[in-house]
Amino acid sequence: MAVAAVHAGGIADHIHPEPQGFVRRYVFSLDHKIIGIQYIITAFVFFMLAGLLAEAIRTQLLNPGGGFVANGTYNEIYSIHGSTMVWLVTIPLLTGGFGNLVFPIMIGARDVAFPWLNMLSFWIFPVSGLMLFSSFLLGAPTAGWMEYPPVSLQGAAGTSMWCAAIFLVGVSSTMTGINFVVTILKMRAPGMTFTRMPLFVWGQFATAPLLMIATTALAAALAALFIERQFGVPFFDPAKGGSPVMWQHMFWFYSHPAVYIMILPAFGIISEVLPTFARKPIFGYKLIAFSSMSIALLGFMVWAHHMFTSGLAPFLQLPFMILTYVIGVPTGIKIFSWTATLFRGKIHYTTAMLFAIGFIALFTIGGITGIFLAAIPFDLHVHGTYFIVAHLHYVLVGGSLMGIFAGMYYWFPKMSGRLLNETLGKLHFWLFFIGFNLTFLPMHWLGMEGMPREVATYDPQFTFWNRFESFASYLMTFAILIFFFNAIWSIRNGKRAGANPWGARTLEWQIPSPPNYYNFKHVPTVYGLPYDFSTPLPYKGLDEELTDSPPVPAGAH
């Protein structure tokens, strides 16, 4: 049925008229590749801002008594740091950014299903980002990125601005999710069956429903918080009969799946980079694909593991603990498959590959501490301490962000036509990897010893490790500056990449870099999986892609 829906000569083969003029081409573009690049650039701008906030946090923590910023300001800083990294950096980069940039090409489509909606999704994103940062002018939220009531009910006016900004960026995510689901279901090239889709597409396919469903649940919570703050209508204020614990339910029902929104596409990136540079078929293709889907599904059933200290009845706590362990199984399967892909491979240690291998190492640590935290007795001990901070940064920086960097080094030539500098890239990787571990590894024991998170000052017994972490974090920031320099320098001066600098086999590498606005001259026909390096490419109809011939849409009207 799904294959039958993809007719040659139909919408999959339709070529939009070529956009004219700077504004149509690069500002209000309908082209998924341009929109992807717009997402990536915008998200990296917010990434820089969030990084500045992170360094303000670490500088404050150089001394037990703080002193770099006022204690209240410190609360605003970590709240906006967290909110920015989740909603304005990681999610947009992995879905709107890399998703838009490559997955339509990977399934042999000329664009996403709804290009206009795609443009709208993008333009909501910088607007909501500006709103979020403007909350500093009104008094930013101070209850962390989770904004638990009653603190968030008492916060300054900026908290309402925070609600509105996150609501808007959620609307953008929801539209992206709908767009991607329909695109993957309906726009695949002939022969691109589900079991022939590249694993990055599977990652997006598992993520898009989460964007659509979980984000809407968060929207409800944000709307309720906004209404309560602005109109005094009680949902969460216990003094008026509301329930602050209800916020935690509504928030984590979104925010646990949000973790998967931030990691499943990164899994997809890793699953492309590893086989390409190990020159070996990915081990357990179907296992990886289906485990992504089961992680997405199970992700909706574990939210209360964030609430073991919130007075949940014990008979409710137990299933949440067990289901959280269950999620460890598909995740473990993936790590096993990736390791097996590397085994006896002919490994090319490019920067993208280094980041992918670094990803496996760091994400595994973050995953294992996640299993610790699922155990109720252990969670009761470390809840609200730096152990949580360590865990979540291993998953979201060691996992998602390392995946994003792997993707940047891997797909930068497809975006720009030029390679990123490999020497600078390796410097970036090693400084970042070392700086990251020195920053976040000691947080595990600080947390076990009881140092609470989200506090501007701390007990002097923790001074040594905090200073150590702060200095290490400056190393991380330096590494990221190298990356920014590399990216800006390479756009003009990088080595020319050609169509397929890595010898990769997915469809985006079979067309020029950067691709033409119509992607393919002929929509290709697909005959197999892209990962079998010993056989000829499983595509037909791509012979003229790298020649000067004009595009020939079979169904042009």
């Binding site: 139909g10 709804f114 659509m212 809407t216 009680p234 949902f235 009969g241 509301g242 339910h249 169904g555």
Partner: protein, 204 residues
């Protein structure tokens, strides 16, 4: 598949591109309804959570809602669901006048439901002094949810009015009428949400 053949049968050559665009839009629209449904579900969860938080329901000082009036109002809304169904069916079979009358009837019934809701709100606020902001979790859950639903009905009525204008201008043909299909789906969706809201607020 039957839809596609119908479209071709009516017009001889209806272009393939339109048929596939319509399939995309239909799927996108259904997914939009799914996420809208999640929005309602989250607020319904909030209502049930607060209702069961041990304060008794309705909370002290608040009367039970008037089931009889709301039941009649529901009949009006469900009736509009039926007329919308017939509007679409008649359009598909080329009975243009019947389509228009059923569509207009849907609009009138939808507006009637909104009127009933306005009357009910008016009664609650001025006769019983139960307001959105001043009656604790009861006002929070009742007015937010039914208000959200009322907004949906309002947008629906506006959209159906646009459909009337577009239809008179000849925008829709026997092969191309996605706008009418979408309107019908939306209207049925709003009906189903009301079944749930009516059950949990008035009957529970």
């Amino acid at each position: 598949m039957s839809v596609a053949s119908l479209a071709r049968g009516a017009h001889g050559e209806l272009d393939q591109l339109y048929i596939e665009t319509r399939e995309l839009r239909l799927q996108g629209f259904l997914l939009f309804l799914v996420s809208d449904c999640v929005l309602f579900s989250s607020f319904i969860f909030a209502y049930l959570y607060l209702r069961n938080s041990g304060q008794g329901w309705p909370p002290p000082g608040i009367q039970r809602l008037d089931v009889a009036f709301a039941a009649w109002n529901s009949v009006v809304l469900f009736g509009s669901g039926a007329t919308m169904h017939y509007a679409l069916e008649n359009f598909k079979h080329g009975k243009w006048m019947a389509y228009m009358w059923f569509l207009l009837a849907t609009i009138v019934l939808g507006a009637g439901f909104l009127g009933g809701q306005a009357y009910e709100y008016n009664h609650l606020i001025y006769a019983e002094h139960v307001t959105w902001w001043g009656s604790g979790i009861f006002g929070a859950s009742f007015f937010t949810l039914t208000g959200m639903h009322g907004m949906h009905v309002f947008f629906g009525v506006c959209y159906l009015t646009v459909l009337v204008l577009q239809s008179s201008a000849g925008v829709y043909t026997r092969g191309k009428y996605f706008g009418i299909t979408a309107g019908t789906l939306y209207w049925h969706f709003v009906d189903v949400i009301w079944v749930v809201l009516f059950s949990i607020f008035y009957l529970l």
